[in-house]
């Protein structure tokens, strides 16, 4: 049963938020919160052209599953997490997290939490292509790989 309460996907295809929303929903639920992480046209004052995502795929899937499983044990939720790889243009989604729950507060909390956790442990990287260059973005402070080793 536990494994049916979440699903994670890593794909080069455009993400489909309504598919994730459908997975997260249930007749028991009164609320679904869907987070869309989208390529933005700027970072501080840099003009962004596109983002390019790369992953250590099998480990990224494993870490996303750990996060989804953790969400399901902390809250009464169903969870779908989809992450896109490759080139993601301005306005397109790189991440969709759909969280359904009987109660809206659980859905909000779990969705917010998932985005934090993804930035802490999941081996996915992005290269920002901006006007005048490109750079790998890494959040040295946010990266907390060993915090959850015991899972």
């Amino acid at each position: 049963m536990l494994t049916e309460r979440y699903r994670v996907r890593i794909t080069e295809e455009k993400l489909n938020p309504s598919d994730a929303t459908d997975f997260a929903s249930s007749e028991r639920h009164g609320a679904t919160v869907v987070f869309h992480g989208v390529t933005r046209n700027h970072t501080d004052s840099r003009k962004v052209i596109l983002l390019e995502y790369e992953a250590y795929i099998p480990m990224a899937v494993k870490k996303l599953e750990e996060i989804a499983s953790e969400m399901c044990s902390k809250w009464d939720v169903r969870v779908a997490i989809d992450h896109r790889l490759g080139r993601v243009d301005i306005g397109e989604e790189s991440l969709v997290v759909a969280v359904g729950s009987p109660h809206r507060q659980a859905a909000f909390e779990a969705a917010d939490y998932s985005v934090d956790r993804i930035k802490q442990t999941v081996p996915i990287w992005k290269k920002e292509h901006f006007e005048g260059g490109e750079i790998w973005i890494g959040d040295v402070d946010g990266f907390r790989p060993l915090e959850q080793k015991s899972n």
Partner: protein, 87 residues
């Protein structure tokens, strides 16, 4: 003699100029830290200090005192940045 497969991603892949390679370290109880030192010697373009590199062994993050086994897959993991642009 411990032989492992090493995977490089993102910054490390570009700095090493390779995405995967086999690597051997002499000795019986080789730990992850020793492998990182060897990698940094062989790939001087890697700008991180070897003791600061985060690595995963068989898809699980490990400390540098973790002992390697023959056939392990070791991945060098730059600080991650999946999800979205914003904090």
């Amino acid at each position: 003699m411990t032989e492992v497969t090493v995977l490089y991603f993102a910054t490390y892949r570009e700095q090493a100029g390779v995405s995967t390679e086999r690597m051997s370290v002499t000795g019986d109880r080789v730990n992850l830290g020793e492998l990182m030192r060897k990698i940094c010697l062989e790939h001087p373009n890697i700008t991180s200090e070897s003791n600061k590199i985060v690595a995963a062994v068989n898809e699980e993050y490990q400390d540098h005192d973790h002992i390697l086994n023959n056939g392990d897959t070791v991945a060098l993991i730059p600080p991650v940045s999946g999800g979205c642009q914003t904090y």
